[in-house]
């Protein structure tokens, strides 16, 4: 019995945890933490179970909620693509949950001088669980409207989590709220336009209806597609709609950025892929509309803009935020290259980029946790003070640059091959330039971390000065998820062929092969 119910359990467990925390753990931080980690762990296990099921049978899982046949009821549809994303989201959430043990009690209640609200911690965990539920729900659902509702859940809870950064975070979050609402409403309106022409909300059903030639000609459907895509682009901070992201993520607390930064944008990319190929079709988008050239150029611009802006930042988190903007360009560009390699690269990059971003944010978070400083110079002497953290950071950086055998190399490989195949040299060049800029960015930081006591050196007399620096490593609860994430970067890289042939490659829509 449990086997058939696995898809719903993936989301039901975090959801249960969210109000279990409200009901039973309002007083105890530890109980709330334990509930959260337990729920995330279970959800991760279930997600892996679903993925195994799909890998074993090779069939798409349809789970009818309330036992109503689609398109009348809502169904969960899980194929190779979202099985992978489900594992990714629940896995990253699980790791971040462990990571939060020390950071949340240290940061969340004390954002203002003179204001201390310990009750915030359980609330924080509740919202954390809700956010993860929302993201998992978006990934699992097969209903266009349901996706909107879940999008709003994840958005609302992320507003709360981001706002808890305090101070400037409020205004940044407010802007995000306004922009995010515009995005969500565009999506809703787009779904409305589709509904008025098709009468259905179920994605597989919509796909069937939209194949009719009359609808392919209809301007309404085109506008619907445009609204939906624009809405999602706003949500994923695709250039030039990215303005809200750097501020919103920079001022957030450590755990929030670790959770939100890697997952929100990636889930939006997933949404884009899902809607493009499971509601509309490659044929409709690339052959009939034919906007791919423009979009890929836009993606190239996003990559360059993001990378160059990141180069100018002195705040570590803000720098990573701009890198996210660039990475979104990678994925959007990859999808819109309109060939299999590009799409494989983009899909695989969802996985690898989420883990890279997570890895870097975790390492940076640990540095902030120990030094209280988020500027580049917080990294000074970090190789000696926090050896494990710095190794994790270096692995994350190498993946970001795209050095084999980390996963970043392979996704870039596919993206560039896709660009070559599509003869889109601008995108290929943008990718390579961005790799180079990433190399500059990260080696600048590594250099700061590696050359420890520059200014003080004269005073302390020679090389032996920094031998005295003591090791002050982050607590175990932060190191463990960090190291696991870093290892996963290499594992994802080494198993890239298995991942691509087993999962990613199975999701390529027929029109692209």
């Amino acid at each position: 019995m449990i086997k058939e119910q696995l898809p719903i359990l993936i989301l039901a467990v975090p959801l249960l945890a969210s109000f279990a925390i409200t009901l039973f753990a309002r007083k105890s931080k530890i109980a709330a933490f334990a509930l959260l980690v337990g729920a995330m762990g279970m959800s991760f296990v279930f997600a892996i179970g679903v993925m195994r099921q799909i890998l074993d049978t090779g069939r798409v899982i349809h789970y009818h909620i309330g036992n109503w046949q689609p398109p009348f009821g809502i169904e969960l549809v899980i194929d190779h693509l979202n099985a992978m994303v489900l594992v990714l989201v629940s896995g990253a959430a699980f790791l971040t949950a462990i990571y939060s043990k020390n950071t949340v009690p240290a940061e969340v209640p004390y954002r203002f001088p003179g204001e201390e609200v310990p009750e915030r911690v359980p609330n924080y965990y509740t919202l954390y669980a809700l956010l993860v539920t929302g993201l998992l729900g978006i990934v699992a659902t097969g209903d266009a409207f349901n996706m909107f509702v879940l999008l709003e859940i994840s958005a609302l809870s992320s507003y709360a989590l981001l706002a808890l950064g305090g101070g400037r975070a409020y205004f940044a979050t407010f802007k995000y709220l306004i922009v995010g609402t515009i995005g969500a409403c565009f999506y809703l309106l787009g779904v409305g336009y589709l509904y008025i022409k098709t009468g259905s909300l179920n994605m597989p059903d919509l796909k069937v209806i939209l194949t009719s030639p009359a609808l392919a000609e209809s301007p309404t459907v085109m506008i619907a597609f445009m609204l939906i895509i624009t809405g999602i682009w706003i949500k994923m901070a695709f250039f030039p709609l990215h303005g809200w992201l750097p501020n919103a993520y920079t001022y957030a607390s450590t755990t929030t950025s670790c959770l939100v930064a890697p997952l929100m944008t990636k889930v939006s990319v997933y949404m884009m892929i899902r809607l493009m190929f499971s509601v509309f079709s490659a044929h409709y988008i690339f052959d009939r509309l034919g906007w791919q050239n423009g979009v890929v150029w836009l993606a190239a611009a996003a990559i360059l803009f993001g990378s160059i802006s990141a180069l100018g930042q002195t705040n570590l988190k803000r720098m990573l935020c701009y890198i996210i903007v660039a990475e979104v360009g990678y994925m959007v560009g990859g999808v819109w290259l309109a060939n299999a390699d590009g799409l494989i690269g983009a899909t695989y990059h969802i996985l690898s980029d989420a883990m890279m971003t997570l890895c870097l944010f975790m390492a940076v978070g640990a540095v902030i946790y120990k030094t209280g400083d988020a500027s580049l110079y917080a990294m000074r002497g970090i190789f000696r003070k926090m050896p494990v953290t710095s190794v994790v950071f270096v692995i994350g950086a190498l993946a970001m640059i795209g050095i084999p055998p980390t996963c970043g190399f392979f996704s870039k490989w596919y993206l560039v091959s896709g660009a070559i195949e599509a003869r889109h040299w601008g995108f290929a060049v943008a990718l390579l330039i961005s790799s180079l800029i990433n190399a500059v960015i990260f080696f600048r930081i590594i250099e700061i971390g590696y050359f420890p006591l520059f200014d003080e050196q004269e005073g302390e007399g020679g090389h032996h000065a920094h031998d005295r620096a003591v090791i002050a490593e982050a607590p175990f609860s932060m190191l463990l998820p960090m190291v696991l994430t870093a290892l996963s970067l290499i594992a994802i890289g080494l198993y890239s062929n298995e991942i691509i042939t087993g999962l990613v490659g199975r999701t390529i829509p027929a029109g692209l092969l």
Partner: protein
């Protein structure tokens, strides 16, 4: 003249929805006062709701509730399926919009809470003044 009038009558709901939508969007982007932005957001959302509700309307139909009740299911349905379908407005958009309204009020609450906090931090809710204070 008459044709134009019928054309307008046939579609005017969509046009008024469009006007409201644009008013809301414009206010969300360009208004300086944060509360005004929030009002714009609510208008934007209700415009979309208006659009959906318009989809659900059928000429000559009635509200989507039949007279059958609990335990009366054995009372014979006097209408054929086709008559039923023609006789009731489309319930699905209504359901969707109930959800959308709820989402809207949730967003509204969060937005207003943030506005209050912003006021507490900066002492103002005018965007330009806030930006100036941030620069300092």
């Amino acid at each position: 003249m008459n044709e134009i009038l019928t054309a307008i009558i046939a579609k005017y709901n969509y046009w008024s929805f469009l006007i409201l939508l644009l008013i809301g969007l414009h206010a969300m982007i360009s208004k300086n006062n944060l509360v005004k932005k929030v009002i714009g957001m609510s208008i934007f959302q209700s415009a979309i709701i208006l659009f959906y509700v318009s989809i659900g309307y059928k000429k000559g139909a009635t509200i989507p509730i039949t007279e059958h009740g609990h335990g009366h299911a054995n009372e014979v349905v006097h209408q054929t399926a086709a008559e039923m379908v023609a006789g009731f407005a489309n319930p699905l958009p209504h359901v969707l919009m109930l959800t959308a309204i709820v989402v809207g009020v949730g967003t509204l609450g969060v937005a207003l809470a943030l506005v209050q906090k912003i006021h507490r931090v900066y002492g103002t809710i005018e965007e330009d003044e806030i930006l100036e204070k941030i620069k300092e």
